[in-house]
Symmetry: C2
Subunit: 329 residues, 2 copies
C-alpha cells in the first residue's frame, strides 16, 4: 500500500471573502466569475475598498486536498507560503484535517508574503476572484519531495500553478517521480484565462502525462479553441484516458475510452460558488482511489460540490462521508 | 453637534472560530461559556489541537462599535494591534464599516503580536473563549486622544481592558476628557471572571463615573457578591443612572431611576452566542444617541443581539437598520 492516495500541488492561498453588490465589481474593474492575477499595489487598493471580510484557508488544489482529507483519505499537499501569520493559518487548517503539509516556507524576512485571494461574492452566489500570488509563486523543483511523489497513487496538479517561473519544472519533477513509482497523474485546468496563458503547455502535458483531466466547459472550450462542447470533449477523449468535465447547473459529463456518462448536479442552492470545481475533484478522486466505477465517482464529485456551494467558503463544513452514505454510495 | 456619537475602548482582537464537540473542551481543559486569558505557549498548544478555523475581526468593544458603525453611527474605536497581518485585518474590517480607528500600532519588530481569541463553538451554540491579549494589553494613556474623547457624546468602556498595567490610567484619562467635554460614560462588565479580578475598581468606577452600565446576570451577581439577581440589580440602581442587564433567553432588564422594564429576547435560534452582549450594547446605544425611550433602546438591543447569535461570528451580517424598521422602531 502506498503511503498516500493523493498528493496535490498548487497555490497555497488564504481567501479573503466579502459580500458585494454587482455594482462594486463594475466600479472597481473586477471581472465577474473568473480569477484575475493582481500585483501587491492593486491588492492593497482593492482590499481598501472592500467591506469587512472573513479569512479562510483556500487555494484551489488545497481545497481539493482538504476535501480528500476530510473524507479520511491519506493525502498530502505541496504549495508555498511565507513564515508569517497567514502562512501559519494556512498550515494549521490543512494539517488539522489530517493532510501532510511540509513544503519549506519563505523566510520571515522574505519580500513576498503568503498569497491571498480576494473573493467577492455577489448576491447570485457567483464569486469573482482577485489573486495576489505572493509566496505561492516561488514553488520550485527543490520543494518537490520525490520520495513522496513516488509513494502516492495519484498526483493532482492545479493548473493555476503554471503561472510561475520555476513551477513547470517542479511539475515535471513531480510527474517523473510519481510515474517512476507507478502512480497516476491528474490535472485541473483551473480557469479559462489560465488555459489561455498556457494552452500549448497544457495540451502537451495532457497528451503525454495526464490520466485524468478535470475541467469545466469554459476551460475545455478554451483548451481546444472551439465553441462547441462536443468538439472539445472528443478532442479531450483522444488525448486522455479519463475526462471529467463539470457543466455548471447541469452537473458533469464523464468520458472514459468510448464511454460517455452524464451525472446530474446535487446542488440544492448556491450561496457561494467558490470551491465547486475543487470539491468536485475531491469527491471524484475519493471514488477513484476506492476503486469505484465512473458513475459513482461522478456522483461523489457532484455531492461534494453541492455541499460546498451551499455555504460561504471553499472547504466542506458537513460530513461528506455521511452525505455519500446517505446517498447510498 | 459632536463629531462622534460613541467612542469605544477595548481589546483589539481577531477571532479564530472553530466548531468543536463538548468532549474537546474537557480534554483540553477549556472552561465552557467564559473567557479565559492564556499565554503565548498555551495559545500555540490549543491552536495546534483545534480543527480548521475561520478568522474574523472580533474584540468585545470593537464588535459593539462595528454594530454602531453598521447602523450609520458616527463612531470611533481605540484599541491596540501590532503592525502585522492580523493587525491589518482588524484595522481593515472596522474602518470598512465607517468607524474611525487610528490607535498607534506596536512596531513590526515588537515582541507581542496582534491579540487573538480562540472561540470554540459547541453544538449548543455556546462559545468558550481563550484569549491571547498580545498587543492589546499595551494600550496606554498615550494612546488616548483627549480631543476625540472631548468630542464624543458617549464613551464606551470594555471591562476586559481592565486586564492591563496601563489601561486603568488610560481609562481615567479618557473619562476625564469625555466628562470635560460634556459627554457621558458607559461600561460593560464583560465577563464574571473579569469582574472577580477587578471588583473593587469596577464598583468605584461605576459609583463615581458611569452613567450607563451593561452587564449580564452572572457579571452583576459577581459584582455585588450575591446570588440574588434582585439584590444585585437594586445595588446597581443605587450606583448608576441607567442599568441594562441581559438575562440570556429571557431578554433584558432595564433600570433607570425608580423605573424597571423587562424586554423580551428577539432571538430566533442560537447558532453561535458570540457577540450577543456586544450587539445588545450596540443596539441599545444606537437608541440612546437617537434620544429613544428606554423600552425602545432595549428592544433595539435585543434585535441586534438576536441577529448576531443567528450566525457564526460576532459582527452583524444583516442590515440592522432594516430589522429595526421592520419591527416598527
Amino acid at each position: 500500500m502506498k503511503e498516500f492516495q493523493v498528493v496535490g500541488i498548487g497555490n497555497a492561498l488564504v481567501d479573503i471573502l466579502s459580500h458585494v453588490e454587482e455594482e462594486f465589481l463594475h466600479t472597481n474593474g473586477v471581472e465577474k466569475g473568473v480569477m484575475t492575477l493582481i500585483e501587491t499595489e492593486r491588492a492593497a487598493e482593492l482590499y481598501d475598498r472592500m467591506g469587512p471580510a472573513t479569512e479562510v484557508s483556500g487555494g484551489s488544489g488545497a481545497n481539493t486536498i482538504a476535501g480528500i482529507a476530510a473524507l479520511g483519505g491519506r493525502t498530502a499537499y505541496v504549495g508555498k507560503v511565507k513564515d508569517d501569520q497567514l502562512g501559519a493559518i494556512f498550515t494549521h487548517d490543512i494539517r488539522a484535517l489530517g493532510a501532510t503539509y511540509d513544503t519549506p516556507r519563505l523566510a520571515r524576512d522574505a519580500e513576498h508574503e503568503t498569497g491571498r485571494c480576494m473573493v467577492l461574492v455577489t448576491p447570485d452566489g457567483e464569486r469573482s476572484m482577485s489573486t495576489y500570488l505572493g509566496a505561492s509563486e516561488f514553488l520550485s523543483p527543490d520543494d518537490i519531495d520525490t520520495g513522496m511523489m513516488a509513494n502516492t497513487e495519484w498526483l493532482y496538479l492545479e493548473g493555476y500553478r503554471f503561472d510561475g517561473p520555476d513551477s513547470h519544472e517542479a511539475f515535471a519533477r513531480a510527474i517523473a517521480a510519481c510515474r517512476a513509482g507507478g502512480g497516476h497523474v491528474a490535472i485541473t485546468l483551473s480557469d479559462p484565462f489560465c488555459v489561455e496563458r498556457h494552452r500549448e503547455a497544457f495540451r502537451k502535458l495532457i497528451r503525454e502525462d495526464i490520466d485524468l483531466l478535470f475541467a469545466n466547459e469554459h476551460e475545455i472550450l478554451s483548451l481546444y479553441q472551439t465553441d462547441r462542447l462536443e468538439t472539445a470533449l472528443e478532442a479531450a477523449r483522444a488525448d486522455c484516458r479519463t475526462v471529467a468535465c463539470t457543466v455548471g447547473p447541469r452537473g458533469a459529463i464523464l468520458l472514459r475510452g468510448e464511454d460517455t456518462l452524464e451525472v446530474p448536479t446535487e446542488a440544492k442552492s448556491v450561496v457561494d460558488a467558490t470551491g465547486a470545481g475543487d470539491l468536485f475533484a475531491a469527491g471524484f478522486l475519493h471514488g477513484v482511489v476506492h476503486g469505484r466505477d465512473l458513475a459513482t465517482c461522478g456522483r461523489m464529485g457532484c455531492i461534494a460540490a453541492g455541499e460546498v456551494i451551499g455555504h460561504i467558503g471553499a472547504r466542506p463544513e458537513a460530513d461528506l462521508a455521511e452525505l455519500f452514505h446517505n446517498a447510498g454510495l
